[in-house]
């Protein structure tokens, strides 16, 4: 009877995931995962504990329940993963010519250092586990590309393609069937104030065109301050029977707030000039994930997640909320399957449907995004134990296939005909493509 009820719930969740549509498109964590396991399973991991990535996906999974907890008391674990994604996207006019992009989507190269450990098990307080994940770009420490929202650019493949993030969480197994978790995601806000004085202005005339330009020398001073921005996440993991896990996670809204001012004195024509800037990088909305994982066979786990993302509060890189309509809340379903054909080998596959949270709808913005189908697979090999340690190697491949989307400018959404005709996207364009990604990880537990 108990088993029948569990399977009924699992099937209901699978049915919901298969018949609904939604989206999750936040930072690199949501897009590519924090290692090969969550990448291979299509992000369907909120009810799948056992990796440091649970720090982000469901902190309760740091200390999973069950009659036989999978991790030994007093354990410690370290993992190092590399994530690489290479966008292969296009945007073209009706005549087939390419639409010039304000910024070409760069590759994503992230290094993810993960750890989880039993905090107090050695002192007789079992079940309190801590997870730490530090993700950092393998190339630039941060890379921001800021263009007006009217410039044609990929919404989630330019400014958000890689960033620094620190995730810390603790999971506690209260009773064998119930674990709770709390965590924090840390990003870094930046305040930049620039002041300057023009010291010399020379007019330069192009000998060929006769056009005039200015060669301006100025003394500049810059003050930069960095602040931590903390966003909480919380999760619960229920393990009513060994073959079933039900998870729920909430992740709070966050982004990198980038603001400041510039003031230049003695500028030609204008005298003193100044402006205030305010940008939003890596915006992630409030997210709520419900998930279920079931083991229909001793070597097989199935899982289904659905994530609600409150994208209606979304901000563009220009810190514009845009008003109702263009950003919309989404639900994103994901499913995953893992199979252990041998004790030391686990194979995984996943699928996610990510409806786009954004549409220009013919308006002045030209931020490119489209609903996508995400297919992934991967595996993990446990190496022979040595020196009381357990080491593994994991890998994953994932490809995001964007549905081709058309954008046609609608004069009714512009303040004037001139604004329509001079919009970089006028009269319209089509776009789509794919983003293949891969991840490799090595880890050790002791």
């Amino acid at each position: 009877m108990k088993r029948s009820r569990a399977w009924s719930g699992a099937l209901a969740a699978f049915a919901a995931a298969g018949t609904t549509a939604g989206a999750s498109h936040a930072g690199t964590e949501d897009s590519y995962g924090l290692g090969p396991t969550d990448m291979a399973l299509g992000g369907s991991v909120a009810a799948r504990p056992g990796t440091a990535a649970a720090t982000y996906w469901n902190p309760a999974g740091l200390s999973p329940g069950g009659e036989t907890p999978p991790d030994p008391e007093g354990f410690g674990e370290l993992s190092l993963a590399f994530v690489h994604a290479h966008p292969l996207v296009w945007a073209s006019r009706a005549d087939g010519s390419a639409v010039p992009l304000a910024v070409e989507p760069p590759d994503t190269r992230q290094v993810v250092l993960g750890s989880r450990f039993d905090l107090l098990g050695r002192w007789g307080v079992p079940g309190l586990h801590v997870g730490l994940v530090f993700e950092v770009p393998a190339t630039d420490i941060f890379r921001w590309s800021i263009h007006p929202d009217e410039a044609v650019q990929w919404l989630f493949l330019s400014d958000r393609s890689q960033h620094v993030g620190i995730h810390v969480a603790a999971g506690y197994r209260i009773v064998p069937w119930l674990s709770l978790g709390l965590g924090l995601t840390t990003l870094f806000d930046v305040e930049t104030n620039t002041t300057g004085t023009v010291t010399k202005v020379t007019s330069v005339v192009d000998p060929e065109t006769g056009a005039s330009s200015l060669d301006v020398q100025a003394l500049l001073g810059e003050e930069v301050r960095v602040f931590g921005r903390f966003a909480p996440n919380a999760g619960v993991l229920v393990t009513p029977v060994e073959e079933l896990r039900i998870g729920a996670t909430y992740r709070a809204r966050t982004y990198v707030d980038d603001w400041g001012s510039t003031r230049i004195q003695g500028a030609p024509v204008a005298g003193d000039l100044g402006y205030v800037h305010h940008y939003a990088h890596y915006f992630r909305p409030h997210e709520l994930t419900l998930a279920v994982a079931a083991r229909p066979h001793p070597s097989v786990w199935l899982s289904a997640d659905v994530t609600y993302a409150r994208w209606s509060e979304g901000l563009t890189t220009s810190h514009a909320a845009l008003g109702p309509g263009r950003f919309g809340d989404t639900f994103s379903p994901a499913v995953g399957v893992s199979w252990r054909p041998a004790a030391a080998l686990e194979l995984m596959a996943g699928y996610e449907y990510a409806p786009s949270p954004f549409d220009n709808f013919g308006g002045p913005t030209n931020l490119l995004d489209a609903s996508s189908h995400v297919a992934s697979f991967g595996g993990r090999v446990d190496l022979p134990p040595a020196y009381d340690t357990r080491a593994w190697v994991g890998w994953a491949f994932r490809t995001t296939f964007y549905e081709a989307r058309a954008e046609e400018k609608d004069p009714r959404r512009f303040a004037s005909d001139l604004a329509v005709l001079t919009n970089p996207g006028y009269p319209g364009y089509r776009y789509g493509g794919a983003v293949p990604a891969a991840s490799l990880e090595v880890g050790v537990q002791w």
Binding site: T20, A21, V205, L214, P268, V269, A270, T330, P357, L421
Partner: protein, 308 residues
């Protein structure tokens, strides 16, 4: 118990599916700014004469060409001048000049075709809207006199008396009366018929986020003194005059820019080149201002755009 559980699962599934279908971006919630707007009118792009050109169908002036001298013909004339607008800048003017020579006597009709106003890209750019450019073209000046030192023309000196144009104002004495001002606009005229006193210049400056308009009265003129290099080329010195009065502007962001004085500097030159039938784009037997604008890059260089 089993039945109850199945019903609850089904209800949850259906509720979730219904909720999901109602989500995502919504065109209906995205407010229309101009619900009645139709396809955009491409002519709005024609406001900036720098981007467009009108080739007139005007016939060649019906002048008596009997015994006309070798210098007679239609010339394209470029004035390269220098001005100071806080810093030194180049500005240029393009004219159509029709010459009829009889010995030392020249009959000269001068028509201003285009003005490249002093501008610094990205800092302050002034452009002449198409309406004003057509107004300037419609105000040719015609003079006749012994302007040539030698009837053989080649090697002769060429002295063109001062010529003057006033736009945006109706003055009894165009050369001497003061231009109207914002505080004393009685002589100002909405000569380009756009609803704003004076004539309208398009202005883009660092201090303004969007293109703006300046409403001005202008008095521009030129004195030319040069030599006939050969029968197709005249070169020499130009003495330009430019008076301006700001009558208003579309946005206070231009406040700082309009207070900056414009001073004409010395060492200004002109070059006139004879036009050929090949420049007569519409093949009507006359090379008009519009056709000179088309040919300007080829005749005078890249200041006027890429050569076609």
């Amino acid at each position: 118990m089993v039945s109850h559980t199945r019903s609850a699962s089904l209800a949850a599934t259906l509720a979730l599916a219904g909720a999901l279908g109602a989500c995502g971006p919504s065109a209906d919630r995205y407010e229309l700014l101009r619900p009645d707007a139709g396809p955009p009118d491409p002519s709005v792009l024609d406001k900036d004469a720098g981007a467009v050109n009108v080739i007139e169908d005007d016939p060649l002036e019906d002048w008596d060409m009997t015994d006309a001298g070798p210098l007679s013909g239609v010339f394209a004339l470029e004035v390269e001048a220098h001005a100071n607008v806080i810093i030194d800048l180049d500005w240029r003017q393009l004219y159509r000049v029709r010459i009829l020579q009889h010995g030392h006597t020249l009959r000269v009709k001068t028509q201003l075709c285009r003005i490249g106003l002093p501008s610094v890209e990205g800092i302050a750019e002034l452009t002449i809207p198409l309406a004003l450019e057509m107004l300037l073209r419609a105000k040719p000046l015609e003079v006749e006199g012994d302007f040539l030192s030698d009837a053989a023309a080649v090697g002769a000196t060429f002295d063109h008396p001062p010529f003057l144009n006033v736009v945006g104002a109706a003055l009894d004495d165009p050369s001497a009366d003061p231009l109207p001002t914002k505080d004393s606009p009685s002589t100002a005229v909405d000569e380009d018929d756009d609803g704003h006193t004076g004539v309208t210049l398009a202005a883009s400056t660092l201090t303004c986020n969007t293109p703006q308009e300046l409403y001005v009265a202008l008095r521009g003129g030129m004195t030319l003194a040069g030599t006939v290099q050969d029968l197709d080329t005249l070169v020499g010195a130009a003495d330009p005059r430019l008076d301006q009065s700001i009558l208003g502007y579309s946005d206070p962001c231009l406040d700082a820019a309009v207070s900056i004085p414009v001073t004409i500097l010395g060492d200004n030159t002109f070059t006139a080149r004879r036009t050929s039938a090949a420049l007569d784009v519409n093949d009507n037997g006359n090379v008009t201002c519009g056709e000179i604008v088309v040919a300007a890059p080829k005749l005078f260089g890249a200041f006027w755009g890429p050569a076609k």
